[in-house]
Amino acid sequence: MPTPILVCDDSAMARKMLIKALPSSWNVEITQAANGLEALEAYRAGKAEVMFLDLTMPELDGYGVLETLQKEGLNSFVIVVSADIQPLAQERVKQLGAIAFVKKPVNPADVEGLLRQYGVEL
């Protein structure tokens, strides 16, 4: 069965770039979200076993999504994908339960390495 994954970024271009960087052998069903609220909706609908989450977004930003997920018992692997690479940002998202931080523009080898590290079947 394909793994339901969610790609959340306000830029359509950024979503395309990320989806292109995913391992081609990974059997996934991709849902896209353009802001944090859409991401939460998809998450609650069970469409986000793995979530790729941007930080800077309108409506609800990535930090807000992580905070809400924590309150709701976080049942998702969240990988933050951001251009904001300050060490403090990385620390904050990890405290909020994200498993990893990937820097934009996304390097496909980084994503694959990360997924393997967490035992995702590719």
């Binding site: 830029s11 977004m57 251009a83 690479i85 300050q86 934009k104």
Partner: protein, 203 residues
């Protein structure tokens, strides 16, 4: 000739600027030893006749500003201008721990440093998608404590097309915003648009 962007081009340019600004924020955080948050940059290419008014509108009509300019050359050429609101300059000085009588040369140096980081990050990010490099002249103070509406006289512009990038930074609890204006000749804007199209076709 109209230089407006398609919504795809705008989205792509916004994302490229966003990535570049993330890198700039990281550098600024080091310079200022504080946490810097950035908003999603807003991009606009106004009609040539409306550059002056578009800039005043973006910054806020009647606002007192200080501006830094820096020229660049290469596959794209033109001039980039960073516009700081006067309150922002004070907040920055505050954050840097200067007292009330901030030394003028220290303040100028700080404004030049920040402009250099922002302009370099933004334009190098854009140059990356063009797969080219740019060279920069050192930044210089363009105007100090002037009213925004008198900063740019459209009839005096050497480069008559503009790319406006609005970036808002928050430094710790302070709101500090500044604006980046890039002025380029028409052939550079055309090259930029072609490069974005090529870049997007790869995705």
């Amino acid at each position: 000739m109209s230089q407006t962007l398609t919504s795809d081009q705008k989205d792509a340019l916004q994302e490229v600027t966003n990535i570049a600004m993330g890198q700039a924020a990281s550098t600024l955080a080091t310079i200022l030893s504080t946490f810097v948050t950035i908003s999603v940059p807003r991009i606009n290419i106004p009609e040539v006749s409306e550059i002056g008014s578009a800039i005043s509108k973006m910054v806020g009509n009647g606002k007192e500003v200080t501006a830094v300019r820096q020229s660049f050359a290469g596959h794209l050429r033109g001039e980039a201008i960073i516009i700081y609101g006067q309150e922002g300059c004070r907040d920055l000085a505050d954050l840097m721990g200067y007292d009330e009588d901030i030394d003028q040369s220290a303040e100028r140096e700080l404004l030049l440093d920040i402009a250099n980081v922002l302009i370099g990050a933004c334009l190098n990010g854009i140059a990356d998608i063009l797969q080219t490099g740019l060279t920069f002249a050192p930044p210089s103070i363009m105007a100090e404590r002037v009213i925004i509406n008198s900063l740019i006289d459209p009839t005096q512009l050497t480069w008559n097309n503009a790319l406006l990038v609005e970036v808002n930074f928050t430094l710790e609890a302070r709101n500090f915003s500044c604006h980046l204006v890039t002025l380029m000749p028409e052939d550079s804007i055309e090259r930029l648009k072609q490069a974005i199209d090529t870049f997007m076709e790869n995705f």
